[in-house]
Amino acid sequence: MLSYVIRRALAALLIVWAVVTIVFFSMRIIPADPAEVALGDHASAEALAAFRKQAGLDQPLLGQYLGLLASLARGDLGRSMITNQPIGEQIAAAFPHTLALALGVLLVGVVIGIPIGVATAVKRGTWLDFSGRLFSLLGLSFPPFYVGIVLLIVFSVWLGWFPVIHAPRTGTIGETLHKLVLPSLSLGFVQAAYIARLTRSTMLETLNQDYIRTAFAKGLRPSKVYFKHALRNVLIPVVTAIGMYTGAILGGAILTEVVFSRPGLGKLLIGAVAQRDYNLIQSGLIVFAGIVVLVNLLVDLSYGLLDPRVKHS
């Protein structure tokens, strides 16, 4: 088991290194001069030279690349080209908001998606099945940012139950949770649709297995067969899917944070793109990709806990 964990962790580290390399060299092919972008068209030659020296842009490309790798190894993400603030601090401040949103989305996805998936599989061919499948189809088709806008118009503009701008003010738990409801629902709708569809198809396959037939033949209560015997096996692909859709959740979080004017990694990245803050864009992309790789690794390692048949060897 330990050697499997080490091998998977090393593979994940290699992917992160490849991501860093691609992002670094991609950022260097930009036709614009980052110094001119940061200081403006009217900056003097001396100011531009001083900026390049301070940002390390006057060094050879390989030196800059190795410098970035060394900084990342120390956990240093560099400084913003616009505000000169440490990027690590900015990301650390934004991350809890995105994490809270991701957890809210996950909660909505699991709480709505799994029961719908189980119900539609058990009641296959009925109106319940049709409604559940329609829910999945709509969830997979309606872009989360549009769902967010509809929720915002209905619940904030028309009904006034929620604020239009979702940036926290007081920071109390009650306020934080209140402002998390609509963003989580908008992105969670898509997640629930994915999970419902996957749960339904896996559940249908599982219900055709011999051991389920045996369980029914033994006279077990249907609820016990569905929830104790079948659902446990259904959970494995569902957990995998949740891991695989981390990327989609993060992608969706960018838009959701913009729609609801919420702070977070997505809003930070879009702000950096708008200001052409290349250092922040570079670090933001690396952090986004790093989170996806880490979650995939954790999902991979969790198989053994969920399914005793899976042995990491």
């Binding site: 490849a18 189809l137 709509l138 872009p143 549009y146 118009i153 913009v258 990709a289």
Partner: protein, 296 residues
């Protein structure tokens, strides 16, 4: 010749089974309307989509302006109709880019195995660690916006999906007797791919392409919504939604209507994709074929 006839008959059976499905009929109906709106936009649109009239800004839907007007008094119905053009263009062309790049790489990796497979799989792993929207966003940030850049950026962002599909299908097919036999008789990789692999993965490919168009349309709208896609005053559903969010208190219908056009189009492609997937199940084809024979 016999094979061609059999192929044609199979295609006819597929299409007849496909259009028996309610989802296909509804999806195709919506797409016909959207495609006609895109193609006939100069005639369907009631106003010039970029013509401003500040005196008429934020007008609610009325007989003169069916979907109302925006901040600059531009007719929203005309902008939504013209917005169908970039959506469908980017949707279809970017999937073509993904297929042209992803399919050969995936088939080669699946057929060759070994180092080629390892290299391609590593590429997929690295690309998949970026959410597709983020990858497209990175490319657009680096290279700039514009229709052709959007096609390339979204196309490249969706390449890993096509590589994975082609690779896994090819790995299954390469173990089959007739592929092994073709190799024994000296068949080259290119011959095996064109003659044996490609015709057998065309079904899943159509499903992936249909669902891929839906995803690409969504990504185009998302990038335009973020201000990185189609630039105003040219209309795109994404930038109309963006304008609508800015004016959410004054004119909530702007974001609602343009977003609904987007959602409906994506829904149509997803409905067709789902139906094609169901129909391509060999059991359905066999059943339909038998049913058709019985009718004769």
């Amino acid at each position: 010749m016999a094979l061609t006839l059999r192929g044609k008959r199979r295609a006819r059976v597929w299409i007849s089974v496909l259009f028996r499905d309610v989802g296909t009929k509804m999806g195709a109906g919506i797409l016909v309307v959207v495609a006609l709106a895109a193609v006939l936009a100069p005639w369907v649109a009631s106003h010039d989509p970029t013509a401003q009239s500040i005196l008429h800004s934020f007008r609610s839907p009325s007989a003169a302006h069916w979907f109302g007007t925006d901040e600059y008094g531009r007719d929203l119905f005309s902008r939504v109709v013209w917005g169908a053009r970039p959506a469908l263009t980017v949707g279809v062309l970017s999937v073509l880019v993904s297929m042209i790049v992803g399919m050969p790489l995936g088939m080669l990796a699946g057929l060759k195995g070994g180092r080629v497979d390892l290299a391609v799989s590593a590429l997929v792993d690295v690309m998949m660690s970026f959410p597709s929207l983020l990858l497209a966003l990175m490319i657009v940030t680096l290279v700039g916006s514009g229709l052709h850049i959007l096609v390339l950026a979204i196309g490249i962002a969706h390449v890993p999906l096509f590589i994975r599909l082609a690779r896994s299908s090819t790995m299954q097919l390469r173990e089959l007797d007739y592929v092994a036999a073709s190799r024994t008789f000296g068949g080259r990789d290119s011959w095996i791919i064109v003659q044996h692999i490609l015709p057998n993965i065309i079904g899943p490919l159509i499903v992936m392409a249909t669902l891929g168009i839906a995803g690409a349309i969504r990504d185009e709208a998302a990038l335009s919504f973020l201000g990185l896609g189609i630039q105003p005053p040219q209309p795109s559903w994404g930038n109309i939604i963006r304008d609508g969010v800015s004016a959410i208190m004054a004119a909530p219908w702007m974001a609602l209507i343009s977003g609904f056009a987007l959602a409906l189009t994506v829904l149509a492609f997803n409905m067709i994709g789902d139906s094609v997937r169901d129909v391509l199940d060999p059991r359905d084809i066999a059943a339909a074929s038998t049913e058709k024979d019985e009718r004769r």
